[in-house]
Subunit: 535 residues, 2 copies
């Protein structure tokens, strides 16, 4: 399955945009050999003196890596949140400190991390990133580079500027992360929607799209960049499995397309959902780290024998969004151009962030970070389970294994309102929405089935989605409105999604009791929304 | 002098670039009123749960605001660095802590600052910035906006994208901050050099340039954006005084030009330099804060009755570069477009940085921060004095008040090598470089006078500058090579700077003894460089 031979990347520099080509080499390139010379006195930079940084030290209390359990007990989703609430779980922490000046050579210190830095970040951070990428993602081409960035949103923006010219299109899932698309549009770069199924982007649809591309009909050249969130896809929660990734990779080789893998939810890969009655204790406790890593869906890097994948990693979901930090993994030609761009824009990530993340990794070590990630995944899985359990409690859910369209190949629950008085719960109303339990990430994507709504034939699903969204908001619950996630405005009006609205619901952040309350409100609002439907 | 009437800004939206116009309004704009509703349950965002942020708290030890003295004793520059070295000055600090969860409403906490934030930053930061801008810069138009950014380099990049189209030019001082220019070039936006004098950008030259602009000859429309570092200009160290600013502002009104004021050195405004023999104790101790502020050269904002100034402020020089944080002050139309750009690129600044800067300002308060800034200025002034004293010690400096060209209107020292054996120090060699003591900032700009060099007539000043730079680097000293600071490559080959090379020397960061050593090496290398010149 995976390319085990580690090959040199092929030359893909023809993908560089006009802007990327026009970027000058680093102005210090020729002089750089003097800059690191031991003992040299530099009066060249515009650096303030670290004596005047107003922090003698910074520090804090870090949670221990095993702060959260590796297993999710059967009853966890309905009861243990209550238990946590009552018991006031005590946190175990490690105190840490970062001094302004290092006591010994190589020690992390503020005089360096809070100083102007290379756009490539602090050396300790660079080596953590490189080591982690090598061990966890095991890229198939050996000559890859890693380069720190200031978060995946900015990372993606830099990739677009580096690869795309105005008038071009970028392949993206028909529903995708809105900011990624909003970034492109003002630069005259449009999304080209690729249909989704239960595994995310469809390889067959991608092939058809590329092989039948008609430049004059489409008004743009065949796209040479593909944007994908392959794990816990935002907003649909689906995950592209290994075989599908290989297919997509091969298609991209055939049609010379660069794959941009935006993968913030990689470590939140959940076990399949079971209804509470069928649930058993679930564990993410593979004692062997190698085994744990091998159970994760491989990154596109693992298939990338040519160097045509740009992977975006982020600390936003594994540490905190406020880190505003992550990294690119890609071929060295792209990395060099991305680094030049960082030099004249964001420069390196915030020094506090670099210091705190490096310090945490030094305290935890690689093994401790993996332990943290395993448990983090279980926490989000528990939240997913709890949320779907709530849906199960307040709606009649019918399981279907034969869905077509967006949920093809995965189990789908079709939800209808329970009968009004709770007496004859076997009498179902019409289906109101359907969903598949997400296989990773933070989101549940509801297909809203409006065809039984009295106003459906007159105003259609788009207007109904918005009306239902407003009715919910007025009642005190906010879901993500589906229209915001359409990769291009056309995608919503054609193809297989034509008769549904959508909501993206995040189970990652709200308190358990609030999620429960939200579902109760949702069921009331839906009932009201369909108030003249007879059961 | 200053516009005291606070007027509404005029409509300057015709300055927006095609990209800025094409940016969609915030996709949440219509729905925003629901987002802040008290008690609402939001399952809309893609937010991780703060329980999983692996820091129970962060904190540190902040220096007290009066850590550094307000006065610089007469002998400070030559002796007190030694005193500091021996006495091991003890730092007074304030311990502080930022908990994950607030104990009471409105308290700074990590669960919010490390979460995804608005691109406009944390509310506590927003109000600090707005308040500081109002009190210190007192903008002349009342309807201005402040907006946080991720450092002036990125801030400037966002301004360029917001105001300029490919093929346009930006007015900039003939020597200027290189990264600001490197950012523009790949976007097809070129610098248009405006000559400098001892007050920075020349208003007469600006008027001539604009009034005589010939679009067909220049190959671009008349520039509508002006970039300036008006205080402690990078690289020349000059400061644009009040009357000059008024002239430039008026010209920009007349020719409809937007002024971008990149002002990181604003609080490092030095008193005039005196030779050690003439120096008296110098103090920055205006007890009244109003008086202190009124002694600072006013920002362009102070003249800006139309809203055509975009000011860039940075914490890099006053707190630390690693903050990667600063702010725009400008009219609300520009601010809104800049905010949209941040939303789809950098988002808000790093949460650690926001937390630490806010906490420091809460601890110090406005008054404490001003105390810090006053003393910081004195520290850099001491460094400037020390550095020039070293030059005085190892070169013969002749003061001239009648310089023309780049140093017109300010005192200029012309340096020559002292006689070889130190016996007849009154016998001077030919002039080798000249400089004016900087009035602010971190840099001394040397004009290298190569006309007496034996190879001058054959290879010219550019090649000599590079040869001297390399000779110095080989001897263990790095200065900033002058060619890097030329706004456009043409500027170096024409006009008044045609027969000098340049070095930018930073006195802000090196240890005192290293600066001393660097000057000794510089004098040796210069002597060697001119080795066949007969005195």
């Amino acid at each position: 399955m995976l390319q085990e031979k580690l090959l040199e990347p092929v030359d893909l520099s023809h993908h560089l945009s006009q802007i990327a080509r026009a970027r000058a080499p680093s102005p210090l390139k020729d002089l750089q050999r003097y800059y690191g010379k031991p003992g040299i006195i530099s009066l060249a930079g515009g650096l303030p003196h670290p004596d005047y940084f107003p922090f003698a030290s910074v520090g804090g209390d870090a949670l221990v890596p095993n702060s959260f359990p590796l297993s999710s007990p059967k009853e966890s989703s309905s009861l243990s949140w209550l238990w946590n609430l009552i018991s006031g779980r005590k946190e175990h922490t490690i105190p840490f400190q970062i001094p302004k000046y290092a006591a010994k050579l190589g020690e992390l210190n503020l005089s360096e991390t809070l100083q102007y830095n290379m756009a490539s970040g602090a050396p300790l951070l660079q080596s953590f990133i490189k080591d982690f990428t090598e061990k966890v993602y095991r890229p198939a081409h050996k000559n890859y580079a890693t380069l720190v960035h200031t978060g995946n949103t900015d990372g993606w923006g830099k990739v677009v500027t580096t690869l795309c010219n105005p008038g071009e299109g970028v392949l993206a899932s028909e529903y995708t992360y809105p900011s990624a698309m909003s970034m492109m549009l003002p630069h005259g770069i449009k999304a080209v929607a690729v249909p989704l199924d239960g595994q995310g982007m469809r390889s067959d649809a991608l092939r058809t799209l590329l092989s039948e591309w008609d430049e004059s009909l489409r008004g743009m050249p065949r796209p040479h960049v593909l944007y994908t969130v392959p794990v816990g896809q935002n907003p649909t929660g689906t995950t592209t499995q290994s075989a599908r990734k290989q297919e997509i990779y091969d298609i991209c080789v055939e049609f010379d397309v660069i794959i941009v893998e935006d993968d913030p939810y990689y470590f939140l890969q959940h076990k399949p959902y079971s209804l509470p009655a069928d649930r058993t204790t679930c564990s993410n406790g593979a004692s062997d780290d190698e085994e744990y890593i091998s159970q994760l869906v491989p990154s596109y890097l693992r298939f990338d024998h040519q160097g045509r994948v740009i992977r975006l990693d982020s600390f936003s979901k594994t540490i905190a969004p406020g880190c505003r930090m992550g990294w690119f993994t890609c071929n060295p030609i792209f990395a060099e151009r991305l680094e030049r761009q960082s030099e004249t824009t964001t420069q390196g990530p915030c020094g506090f962030s670099q210091a705190f993340v490096v310090k945490l990794m030094l305290e935890w070590q690689y093994k401790g970070y993996l332990r943290w990630l395993k448990a983090l995944c279980m926490q989000y899985q528990r939240r997913r389970d709890f949320f779907i359990d709530c849906l199960h409690e307040h709606f009649t859910l019918e399981l279907s294994m034969n869905a077509t369209g967006i949920w093809e190949g995965v189990p789908v629950y079709v939800a209808s309102l329970k009968s009004g008085k709770g007496l004859k719960s076997e009498i179902r109303g019409p289906p109101m929405f359907s969903f598949t339990p997400p296989s990773a990430g933070m989101f549940i994507w509801l297909n809203l089935i409006f065809e039984h709504h009295p106003s459906f034939s007159t105003i259609g699903h788009k207007a109904l989605e918005m009306r239902l969204w407003i009715a919910l908001a007025e009642a005190g619950v906010l879901f993500g409105p589906g229209y915001m996630f359409a990769a291009d405005s056309a995608a919503d009006d054609e193809g297989e999604t034509h008769d549904t609205g959508h909501f993206r619901i995040s189970f990652s952040n709200a308190e358990y009791e609030d999620m429960k309350k939200a579902i109760v409100i949702f069921s009331f609002v839906l009932r009201e929304f369909y108030n003249n439907v007879v059961y």
